[in-house]
């Protein structure tokens, strides 16, 4: 047992030494059922991915703030992409829900959370900020009042 724990500990350390950068690859449907891929949506300077779900309260609280930030930063080459991980249970609600919130940025469907798993994301909401090469430069989990300022600072820092 001790040997196995030791092996896993070594593994964890191995991981910590290797922070690699990879451009995300996805081909997902948007709320109008059209296929889109990362290269269609990525920003000239930065891309902010927002993993969220309709049943997640903090996600819903963050969306109006993200909408405001999108309006502020879109002219500067920052793209915002919402990735809904709602399963089949909530698929039909997604479009009217997004429209009622007045979301202006792209919303995509990750019905089986495959892209979420690929990005090693394990909770919602999670924001992932990518630079122009597609490398992850910032990750933020959860959303609390005042977090919009943190998001703004991180975007400005990496612009």
């Amino acid at each position: 047992m001790k040997k196995n724990i030791g092996i896993l500990f070594v593994f964890t350390l191995t991981m910590l030494t290797n922070i690699s950068a990879q451009e995300p690859v996805f081909r997902l449907k948007n709320i109008d059922n059209q296929w889109v891929q990362y290269s269609d949506l990525k920003g000239e300077e930065l891309t902010l991915l927002d993993f969220w779900a309709t049943w997640c309260q903090p996600c819903l609280r963050s969306i109006p703030e993200l909408n405001r930030l999108y309006t502020e930063f879109a002219p500067l080459g920052v793209s915002f992409v919402g990735i809904s991980i709602d399963g089949p249970r909530n698929q039909s609600k997604l479009k009217p829900f997004v429209n009622s919130l007045g979301v202006e940025y792209f919303i995509l469907r990750d019905v089986n959370s495959e892209f979420m798993s690929e990005m090693n994301i394990s909770s919602v909401p999670t924001l992932v900020l990518l630079d122009r090469k597609g490398s992850v430069v910032w990750i933020h989990e959860g959303f609390r009042p005042g977090d919009e300022e943190l998001i703004r600072e991180e975007i400005q820092k990496h612009l």
Binding site: M1, N4, I5, I7, L8, F11, T12, T14, M15, L16, T17, N18, I19, S20, Q22, R27, D32, N33, W35, A53, T54, W55, C56, Q57, L60, P64, I85, D86, G87, P88, R89, N90, Q91, S92, K93, K95, P96, F97, N99, S100, L101, G102, V111, N112, S113, S117, E118, N120, I121, S122, W138, I139, H140, E141, G142, R144, P145, G146, D147, L150
Partner: protein, 493 residues
């Protein structure tokens, strides 16, 4: 066998470090010390580890998942390579060999999924493992501008069976399916054919799909699935037939949105349970509502759901939901639920969410369930915020002599954003299924989470955690009671 598998991953890690390959992944380490009330033996000292490695080179990707569970019971301990996949993806083509998630249509016939970050445990086995129901086999998909086609063949995991069992036993179903659809002018029409083999039992189904948008304010989704049997017609909506109907019509105009859905599922329990049709029951984040959720009986359930949303100009949101389901199992059992939720800001620093819910679930013999509560978040100053959540529920149960009992949840939390959070949870229940009549039971727990850097987070739970049904991403499962200390260490790289 475990050591060579370990070596394979270790070599991948070394290759990555040396710059010869691109490697990414994650690791979840969890240690529990305490006990599982109502289990035998109740004492517990265990660790679970899940390591996910991804190697990518241009359009090729290889992934492996190791899982390990070590506890004082040798028969419950394991170290296994539980998933491995080789994937080729270019433009619209996506080919996978190994383990993968997939859905046919809306999931009426087949849905293989993963709940990222979740760890599952059945009381019967007391073995912890990743929460997913995957296929092991081959998947080929092509998505084009005017249509799509996908074909899958694989053995579906029965995820109630832990990795300590033989892999062949855990995958009793051989599922084969093909789905194709054509899209023009915002409308898509599709067809599914699926065959499932579980031992000597072979089931074949077809499914018709329609979805699209009308005038940009309406969208719809329709699926009709039916089994194919020599002795029965291809379209028969009687109680001795096997079919599923799912339909939704959605409307949005300005800040208003409306979704109306209908379901009729008759004997859709395929194999060991490979389907996952839309439930048409509100998916709740609130602990008490999540725990008392109606779990659809897909061998016989009809129902509908209506949900409306409105976003006010000041940013407030109103959500109204109505759900109804009817089960015919000798007698007729009816489930109804009315749910309302309002979120609003009270000044720049206060955020309130209030909710009220009434439901009646005859199949659980629970009538007149009233639930209400609120979440109040207060931004103290820059980066500092507090949270108070209170949920109260009153339930009338009519199994034998009618009983009335209450449930309460209070959560008080503090966050120093973005790295530190701490929350205190107190739960109380007078449910006679848990305590003698007239008594109450308390659960007190403390959660602490610290993000060490961009890729590493450590979490600590100490105290008592109430078990019961829970749903995440539309998938419902049973959470076991726990008392003790739990440490989690999550790493991304």
């Amino acid at each position: 066998m475990a050591f060579p598998k370990f070596m394979l991953s270790f070599l991948l890690a070394l290759l990555s470090i040396s710059g010869m390959a691109q490697l990414s992944g994650s690791n979840l380490f969890e240690f529990q010390l305490g006990n599982l009330p109502d289990a035998d033996p109740p004492d517990l000292s265990a660790h679970y580890d899940q390591l996910n490695l991804q190697y990518r080179y241009k359009s090729l990707k290889a992934t492996v998942r190791y899982e390990q569970f070590l506890t004082q019971t040798p028969s419950s301990s394991y170290t296994r390579l539980t998933q491995y996949t080789l994937q080729y993806r270019k433009e619209g083509l996506d080919i996978k060999v190994g383990n993968f998630s997939e859905i046919l249509g809306n999931g009426l016939l087949l849905r293989a999924y993963e709940i990222p970050g979740s760890v599952f445990e059945e009381q019967a086995y007391r073995v912890r493992y990743g929460f997913y129901r995957d296929l092991r086999g081959v998947s080929v998909k092509y998505n084009g501008d005017y249509g799509y086609v996908k074909a899958v063949r694989g053995r579906t995991l029965a995820n109630s069976l832990p990795p300590t069992l033989d892999e062949d036993d855990r995958r009793p179903d051989l599922s084969e399916g093909i789905e194709a659809g054509l899209s023009r002018f915002g409308q898509t029409a599709g067809l599914v054919f699926m065959r499932n083999t579980n031992g000597p039992i072979k089931d074949s189904f077809y499914s018709l799909l329609l979805n699209g948008n009308i005038f940009s304010i309406f969208s719809y989704n329709f699926e009709f699935a039916h089994n194919i049997a020599n002795s029965l017609p291809l379209f028969q909506l009687t109680e001795d037939a096997r079919y599923g109907i799912y339909a939704s019509l959605n409307y949005s105009y300005g800040n208003f949105g409306l979704s109306a859905e209908y379901k009729d599922y008759q004997d859709l329990l395929i194999g060991a349970g490979i389907s996952d049709p839309p439930t048409l029951v509100k998916e709740h984040k609130y602990k008490l509502l999540n725990r008392s959720i109606h779990v659809p009986q897909i061998f016989n359930e009809k129902g509908s759901q209506l949900e409306a949303y409105y976003s006010f100009r000041n940013g407030s949101r109103l959500l109204l939901n109505y759900a109804r389901a009817v089960n015919r199992i000798v007698n007729e059992f009816i489930f109804t639920e009315y749910f309302a939720e309002l979120n609003f800001d009270a000044g720049a620093k206060h955020d309130f969410t209030v909710f009220a819910d009434y439901s009646s679930d005859e199949i659980k013999f629970e009538n007149n369930r009233y639930t209400g509560g609120f979440i109040w978040e207060y931004a103290l100053e820059r980066k500092h915020s507090t949270l108070l959540e209170v949920e109260y529920q009153s339930v009338e149960r009519n199994l034998g002599a009618p009983v009335l009992f209450n449930n309460l949840v209070v959560i008080a939390g503090y966050t120093y954003s973005p790295n530190t959070s701490i929350a205190f949870t107190w739960e109380l229940s007078s449910d006679p299924n848990l305590v003698p009549a007239g008594e109450q039971r308390h659960w007190i727990g403390l959660d602490f989470s610290q993000k060490l850097n961009a890729n590493n987070t450590i979490s600590l739970f100490a105290g008592q955690r109430r078990g019961g049904p829970a749903c995440t991403s539309g998938v419902c499962y049973e959470v076991l009671d726990f008392e003790g200390i739990e440490i989690r260490f999550k790493t991304k790289f």
